[in-house]
């Protein structure tokens, strides 16, 4: 799950990056509005969600928000700010923020809100992704299959999540790498295969199908 973090305070940003990576997000961090616009206009980045600070150097968060919405994008955006006034909150929401979180907040709440934004964006009623007899819980990062519940590592979760979002769709290596890794993370050439291998070991080879030369998709589980 690729997340764009726009935050000018280094300490907050570093904490969020780590916290969100623990949660299996591929986090890209930029520290001003102009950089945020550049990142969002990069089509290949394919962000699933944006955490946007209001007070930013060069171009403030509200202006970024307006520009994104003006371009017709429905990308889920969570506004994070120290501005707690009612008018500010209303202004943020009215300008297209999907949610609004006031500093100081707890990381757990930010994560929950981000998950919620993703769930709503994907039109799911609950935090679970279900395909056949496989249920992925996006809160606990566990997979339930029959009576058996298995905890996933961050990468495993991200990869499975990506495949389960649109069952049947084939995702290329590049696409998966984008979903799993931020810009500044080094990706080894066989990293994706390594994650797929460990998933197959846990749930059986049929869970992920390899479409030779194209990519991978979730298997028809029953």
């Amino acid at each position: 799950m690729r997340l764009l973090l726009v935050e000018d305070d280094r300490m907050i940003a570093e904490g969020l990056v780590k916290g969100l990576r623990d949660e299996a997000f591929a986090v890209d961090w930029v520290r001003d509005g102009a950089a945020a616009m550049a990142a969002l206009q990069d089509r290949r980045a394919g962000f699933s969600v944006v955490v946007l600070d209001w007070n930013l150097p060069r171009r403030d968060g509200l202006s970024v928000l307006q520009a994104v919405r003006a371009s017709g994008s429905t990308l889920p955006i969570l506004m994070v700010t120290a501005r707690d006034g009612l008018t500010d909150r209303v202004k943020g929401l009215d300008n297209g923020a999907d949610d609004y979180l006031v500093k100081p907040f707890e990381l757990a709440e930010l994560k929950a809100r981000v998950r919620n934004l993703l769930r709503r964006a994907q039109g799911r009623p609950t935090s679970e992704l279900i395909h056949g007899n496989l249920v992925l819980d996006t809160v606990t990062h566990t997979v339930r299959r029959g009576d058996c519940t298995t905890l996933l590592s961050a990468r495993e979760f991200s990869l499975l999540h990506a495949l389960l979002e649109r069952p049947g769709a084939i995702l290329s290596r590049g696409r998966l790498e984008e979903r799993l890794y931020g810009w500044d993370e080094s990706v080894q050439s066989n990293a994706i295969e390594f994650v797929i291998h460990s998933l197959r070991k846990k749930f059986g080879a049929e869970v992920i199908e390899n479409v030779r030369g194209v990519g991978w998709r979730i298997g028809p589980l029953t």
């Binding site: 000018d8 305070d9 280094r10 300490m11 907050i12 570093e14 904490g15 969020l16 780590k18 916290g19 623990d22 520290r31 001003d32 150097p57 060069r58 120290a82 500093k103 100081p104 907040f105 707890e106 990381l107 757990a108």
Partner: protein, 460 residues
């Protein structure tokens, strides 16, 4: 406490008393003048009438009845108040004397040489005497007891003084009442003020207030307006301060939450180090808030002076370890040899904040230069850092409270420069930032007035 009403009443009464006393004196003086004139005239008239009479030389004056000569002349009804008359022929023999008078019992007027009006003592009594010589050579003397004259004067004076004596006290009473009544309108204003809530800074109503009181009300309102401004500033500061705490607190919160995540002991140690840095940041911010709040409080004139160069040396020494750990060299060229106002603590805050900023923006291996030198009546301190400078539009804005320079990455409190500006301003100096002309960093320039005649101190 001085009572306006008491003072006014006292003044009114004193004035009325003085007016009463003066008018009494004038009345008595005028009564004297008038009575004297009248009685003198009377005596003159009598003398004239007597002069027209003929006196038989043989006739003994004492035996004569007054009625024979003056059938109708009486000064007063009281016969004792009658005029005393004596007539002498040219050789000095008494030809006529009025009958015995209470004031001059059993004797007639002595012979006075002097003509005209005079005051004489006869026995124990004073008399007003008019002496004249008739055409036929008769020497006529008319006298009246001063007691009678004074009595008459007293009567006239009383006629004037009694109404004054009655009127003035009533005037005093009426004025006293009027003063009390007029001052009651002040009581209404007092009631308005008394009924206000304790922290109300609403302006006092100026209408319906007496003309004399309205300047006072206006002054109070002016004070209230200043108070409102100060309170607003205070409120804004508290809000801003609470706001400024949010970001570092958020960082702390997040850092604490991610502590138990992270793979491996190295990552955990890194996260713990970050948490510690976050706590340090909060502590620093609270210190900055405190010194900023102190810098905003009003102070009297600063008389204490310090040696600038040694203060700078101390500050540089204090930051030496920070500089060293960053690999930054700090060079001090202190050449002012001047004393400036302010104690060491204040100077430490001023230049410590500036040096702290310079250190923050100086990359490792860089060199910060601090120069101090005299420039006329003031001393100039320059801090040169090799950082990246500031966009021109931010050079002034960074002095605003809680303004964070865009390159700052949130490590500052947004208060340092605002505090420096306030502290320098209180010393009568000024501070500003300039980009180095080659855009290779920033120069902070502080000018401070030299204290007293310190610039004549010998160089060390």
């Amino acid at each position: 406490m001085k009572s306006l009403r008491g003072a006014l009443t006292l003044w009114v009464w004193v004035t009325i008393g003085a007016v009463g006393a003066v008018s009494a004196v004038v009345a008595i003086w005028q009564a004297q003048l008038e009575t004297q004139g009248q009685l003198d005239y009377q005596m003159q008239q009598v003398a004239q009438i007597v002069a027209g009479q003929t006196f038989t030389p043989g006739e003994q004056a004492a035996e004569l009845s007054d009625a024979k000569i003056f059938p109708s002349i009486h000064v007063h009804h009281d016969r004792d108040d009658d005029l005393i008359v004596s007539v002498r022929n040219p050789d000095g023999r008494l030809v006529y004397a009025s009958r015995t008078n209470r004031h001059l019992p059993g004797q007639s007027l002595p012979d006075f040489e002097q003509m005209g009006f005079q005051t004489r003592r006869i026995g124990h009594q004073s008399f007003r005497v008019f002496a004249a010589r008739s055409a036929s050579g008769l020497r006529i003397q008319v006298a009246q007891s001063m007691d009678v004259i004074r009595e008459a004067e007293g009567g006239i004076a009383a006629a004037t003084l009694v109404p004054i004596g009655l009127l003035l006290p009533s005037l005093a009473l009426v004025l006293g009442w009027a003063i009390r009544r007029q001052l009651r309108s002040l009581g209404a204003t007092t009631a308005v003020i008394a009924s206000r809530p304790p922290l109300s800074v609403e302006l006092l109503p100026a209408d319906g207030v007496p003309l004399e009181v309205s300047p006072l009300i206006e002054e109070i309102n002016r004070l209230l307006r200043r108070l409102t401004t100060a309170m607003d500033r205070e409120k804004r500061f508290v809000t801003d301060a609470a706001h400024s705490l949010r970001t570092p607190l958020t960082a702390l919160q997040i850092q604490a939450e991610i502590l138990d995540g992270g793979d491996g002991p190295e990552e955990r140690a890194a996260r713990l180090a970050q948490l510690r840095a976050g706590i340090k940041r909060i502590i620093r911010l609270s210190e900055q808030l405190l010194s900023h709040a102190r810098s905003q409080s009003e102070i009297g004139p600063i008389t204490v002076t310090s040696e600038l160069d040694s203060a700078l040396a101390e500050i540089v020494a204090y930051y030496a370890s920070t500089a060293q750990s960053k690999g930054v060299e700090v060079v001090l060229e202190a050449q002012s040899a001047a004393r400036v106002y302010g104690n060491t603590r204040r100077l430490t805050l001023i230049f410590g904040n500036l040096l702290d900023n310079a250190l923050r923006f100086t990359p490792g291996g860089g060199r910060i230069r601090i120069r101090s030198f005299l420039a006329g009546e003031s001393v100039r301190v320059e801090l040169w850092d090799p950082g990246c400078g500031l966009p021109p539009e931010e050079l002034e804005r960074v002095f605003e409270r809680f303004y964070q320079a865009s390159e700052n990455e949130g490590s500052g409190s947004g208060l340092g420069l605002a505090t420096v500006q306030a502290l320098v301003g209180q010393l009568g100096g000024e501070v500003h930032l300039e980009n180095r002309l080659d855009r290779s960093g920033l120069v902070a320039i502080v000018t401070l007035p030299v204290a007293g005649c310190a610039r004549f101190l010998p160089r060390p």
